[in-house]
Symmetry: C2
Subunit: 660 residues, 2 copies
């Protein structure tokens, strides 16, 4: 049903006018660049998936390998669908903006909704198929989750490096050195920059949430069959997922047909309607299947925690609140104080989201009677994850709407559309910035809960009785695990630097070597810039990717399943903290810069503005590369542990056994 | 014995010439400022100690409260002794530099050695007294450790805020705005800046290591009596501590009488000789008392890990290696890339120290036969901490030598001594910068091992069977615990900002309102600046201090001893990581700036230099305030848990009991 609606929306977008020739040409560049990235990525992916599938076939089973491949393929389909439609919707949104706000909003949001419905539709269809084909053997079905995770690694980490390399290259050489405005076709990196918005914010974010969505359902199924051997648990999970999709479709329709001139209100209303419908469905199903409202409470706890984390993200990163204003004020005393203030905001901002996640965990565990029956409690935690992710369709739709609106603005600028069109796309874009920040908070929260649920599923599968910090082997697992997000963050930050450096060199070369480019008499070689970003990002993501995959296996095989449990616990805690810190510090710096540009503290061009630009530049890899990569790290490590649980349980702890 | 040698060294320093009148006047300003800080601090401390002592008397016992007060008093004595001698030794080092390098080194290092021997002498004397008076009741003796921790909180956190507020105030208004050189008496904040070196780097660092030293011994005693009910464990700990003191005295004498023109070699040789002697003593004692070398291996593991962590710190923060050079190179592309590069170095640099700590833990646990007998293994971990801290006397001596040499340089500059004198003090100072960086690494490593040992002692005292991460209450303990260092770091970073702001305003006011000050015809009001730094630092440290004290108690009382165990585990992991990140990023930025000042990448005044200054300014609160404060946070939280263990074991988990 979700996929049918997605197809309908997609064809509706296709029917809208794609504007004049120039617009179509630019849109074609972006589309082509995005597809070039995807195809190159697929080549790497194919090699990667084959190698991992062989490893899985040898150590686990061929069935698991098949599930793994399916998980990867389904995620790729969702990403391909979303990217194709997004790169179609952008130019049509720009064209739609000629007829007014509501038409533009309708197209942009429809584009996002295709991605959103694609993610949930393919996610649930894939898990359900795997579950029924492999006869409810969860050891095998978890392979699907690992497949989804692998794609998320490529899309989110690689995409994050791509988008920032292009962004920095376009800004530093184009805006700063050559002095030409943003979104100007004379800049060779401008197409890569616009492609980056799609690659990072549409495909990357979509794959991230696809992974969370699948992970939450897989863990709920694993733990559900333990809690309710009669199958009511499984039934509840599938039925709720189905209802959530219907709720998402209704929410999408609401937001899409809104005649409001305020796009923020339209998006919010759609999300709230979807959320309320999910809550109602959860109450009904919980009462019908379990004769109690306990499961409903667990679902509601997750859903509400997700919404609150989004709201808190907004408070720390929006210029309407104190934190961003304080950073802007500190920009008056220079670059260093701007950085310190932003880091402090990021560090402070970890507290409430972490507390909310803890409250969500505790409520969902206790309400299911986890004290007396731990199995029920762990199922409760996975239900909280399912609850938080029940609005995924809407969240992805709202989130993917942002880069479409951003691209539409870029196309309007590059094709020199009238200023009133640009005004509408600017308005859509600024709403997109807020929704993007909230979406990031939501992605972190859902990654945390999903990883927790997968962690519980792992512990159950390897039949751990405890993960005991009094055991020094577990304790060092925790320590090493907590170190990984720091090392991973350093790697991805340096990767952006290296990739951006190559891009800068290329843009400079083109300005130097293509005669008449700066005067607008020649066309830049956009393809070359797209190529560089693509190659660099895929190359640079290898090392962190290998780290995320190999570290849990190494720990498990050398020191055993309990040490691996400690490692995941440590990585989870530190990874979530780093993710929140980086996302919020980055968002706050970004908006502090925009706040100063609005005219306060000296406005654009002032010393304070320069300092704020420094903050924003530091924040770019924080919020768009390293921060979001943490989500992938923690989920990927956990699902690797879960998938390899059977072989680890049998053969883990080689080094430990030598000592004992 | 250590105290006698300290007294002898102190009187030898007192006999050295204090130079001309001007030098004595300046030295008097610094001494007065340092004492003003100490006395004001003591007032706050007195109130704090009385309140906590009353709480302890009510909830635990009067004996514990007495131990607590004694721990505080002994730490205060060590700090007072060290500060008094350091502020005497600085001017005499400057005067000694007139007769050459070896005389200057002798005085500066003797000054440091008084602090070093004071710390170990008072530490072991205090614990031994408490142990014998209270009849080996470790529940009571741990109070001594809490006392030491409380002073460390004031000295390290308050001192860290003090020193950076003064530093930033002196630099920003004096150097940048008014354009007068560093260490110029026309700058009203210059005395406060020099006082800050003593307050932060002598008293703060001394109290930090006093806390570690006492904490390591207290935990080794607690676990030693469990492992060896016959008392050999206790005997080993006390005898090894005694031998370490003798080894330290011999090492001090070696370094002090070195005729080498290379101060670094003299300091290194002293440290190595001390280390080798401790190793020999450990082997002899281990074989004699236990008929095996197991305890020796545990001690050696700790000692070697400590030395290696120091070496790794040097690799990441010295301009002789790649990391600092990479930051300097990134400074060419601006402020933002400098910050990103420094943060990446800091994040990377967490890996090896963490791995070494883990290896130390594992070796000391396994070598004592911890697999079969966990009690023995936990005793082994505490022995590793004792081993690492066995060279504390020397480490503190070498570390405290730094600010004395730094001060001596300042006094030489302010009293306009001949350039050849300044050359010698510069050489001494630059060696001091390296030793300070290594000392920071050592302080973090020892804090981590001490906290781990205290953590084991806590678990034993509350009779925890497990600290099980599969229990969601423990897991949320871990999450909240890991969040605390982030919040604590944000608080201390903002505190530096606020305190520095007040200082900046005051210096500006004096330049504005005191006629003839900038021309050198009037004297600045140094006292007022000292006052501001003092008041602001003590005021600003309250909130983070309360957080560190209250958080573990709240967790224990509300959610029980196991959740508290999880919290400590999380705080420990995240706190050590943050401490390493901040110390190394700060040190690397500092040396990248100095490296550029040496003439590369455009040298002083270039754009790269400006970017490097930004890095250094961000790094200042990192390495001198927030980073070192993490050491205190993790130890203080753990010892609070240990001291209140009896009452938590009986009454903890109120909220949890409501649910169950």
């Amino acid at each position: 049903m979700a996929l049918v609606v997605a197809m309908m929306l997609s064809s509706a977008i296709g029917k809208a006018s794609a504007g004049n020739e120039r617009m179509q040409e630019i849109s074609e560049y972006i589309h082509e660049g995005a597809m070039a990235f995807l195809y190159r990525e697929y080549k790497y992916l194919a090699a990667f998936v084959i190698v991992v599938a062989i490893i899985i076939s040898i150590f686990l089973s061929v069935s698991t390998a098949i599930c793994f491949i399916c998980g990867a393929l389904f995620s790729i389909c969702a990403g391909y669908l979303g990217m194709t439609v997004a790169t179609k919707a952008n130019v049509r949104t720009a064209e739609g903006a000629r007829s007014g706000m509501s038409e533009a909003l309708k197209i942009a949001f429809s584009g996002g909704a295709v991605m959103g419905l694609g993610v949930v539709g393919l996610g649930i269809a894939g898990v359900a198929l795997a579950y029924f084909i492999f006869d409810s053997n969860m050891d095998i079905v978890t392979g699907f989750g690992l497949g989804a995770s692998s794609i998320a690694l490529f899309a989110r980490v690689g995409g994050g490096i791509y988008t920032k390399a292009a962004d920095v290259g376009a800004d530093l050489v184009g805006k700063v050195e050559a002095g030409i405005p943003e979104d100007d076709l004379r800049n060779p990196a401008t197409i890569a920059d616009n492609v980056g918005d799609n690659v990072g914010d549409v495909a990357g974010m979509g794959a991230d949430l696809f992974e969370s969505y699948v992970g939450a359902i897989v863990s709920a199924l694993t733990l559900g069959i333990v809690a309710y051997p009669g199958g009511e648990g499984i039934e509840f999970v599938f039925m709720l997922a189905g209802c959530s999709i219907i709720a998402s479709i209704i929410g999408v329709m609401f937001a899409r047909t809104s005649k409001s001139q305020d796009p923020q209100a339209a998006l919010n209303n759609g999300t709230y309607i979807g959320g309320v419908l999910v809550i109602c469905a959860a109450a009904y199903l919980s009462n019908n299947l379990f004769d109690s409202f306990n499961a409903f409470f667990a679902i509601a706890a997750g859903l509400i925690v997700g919404l609150l984390i989004g709201k808190i993200t907004e408070i720390y990163t929006s210029a309407d609140y104190g934190s961003v204003k304080r950073i802007a004020q500190q920009a008056e005393t220079g670059h260093a104080t701007t950085i310190i203030a932003g880091l402090a905001v990021g560090m402070y901002s970890t507290f409430w989201p972490m507390l909310l996640i803890c409250i969500g965990v505790i409520i969902s565990f206790f309400v299911m009677g986890g004290v007396a029956k731990p199995d029920m409690g762990l199922f409760g935690i996975s239900l909280a994850a399912v609850g938080m992710l029940s609005t995924t369709g809407l969240t992805v739709a709202v989130d993917a709407y942002g880069p479409i609106a951003d691209n539409a603005g870029g196309i309007a600028e590059m094709s020199e559309l009238p200023p009133e069109v640009r005004e509408i796309t600017d308005k859509l874009d600024s709403v997109g910035n807020t929704t993007a920040a909230i979406g990031k908070g939501f992605a972190i929260g859902s990654a945390a809960l999903t990883a927790l649920a997968l962690f519980s599923a792992y512990a159950h599968t390897v039949e751990l009785k405890t993960i005991d910090l009094l055991n020094p082997v577990t304790l060092i697992g925790l320590f090493i695990g907590a170190t990984l997000p720091f090392v991973f963050g350093a790697m991805t930050m340096e990767s952006v630097g290296k990739a951006a450096y190559e891009m800068i060199e290329e843009v400079r070369r083109q300005f130097r070597e293509i005669p008449g480019l700066l005067e607008g008499r020649a066309t830049a070689d956009y393809r070359k810039c797209v190529d560089i970003s693509t190659a660099a990002s895929l190359h640079e993501m290898m090392l962190p990717g290998v780290l995320a995959l190999v570290a849990p296996l190494a720990m498990g095989f050398l020191f055993g399943t309990e040490a691996l449990g400690g490692m995941i616990g440590g990585a989870l805690a530190a990874g979530v903290l780093e993710a929140i810190l980086m996302a919020n510090a980055g968002g706050a710096w970004d908006n502090a810069k925009k706040y100063i540009e609005s005219g306060v503290h000296g406005g654009k061009g002032s010393e304070a503005h320069k300092a704020a630009v420094t903050g924003d530049t530091v924040g770019d890899p924080f919020k768009d590369t390293s921060g979001p990569s943490m989500n992938i790290l923690i989920k990927l490590m956990t699902i690797v542990a879960l998938v390899f649980a059977p072989v680890l349980a049998a053969n883990g702890g080689i080094l430990l056994n030598l000592f004992t």
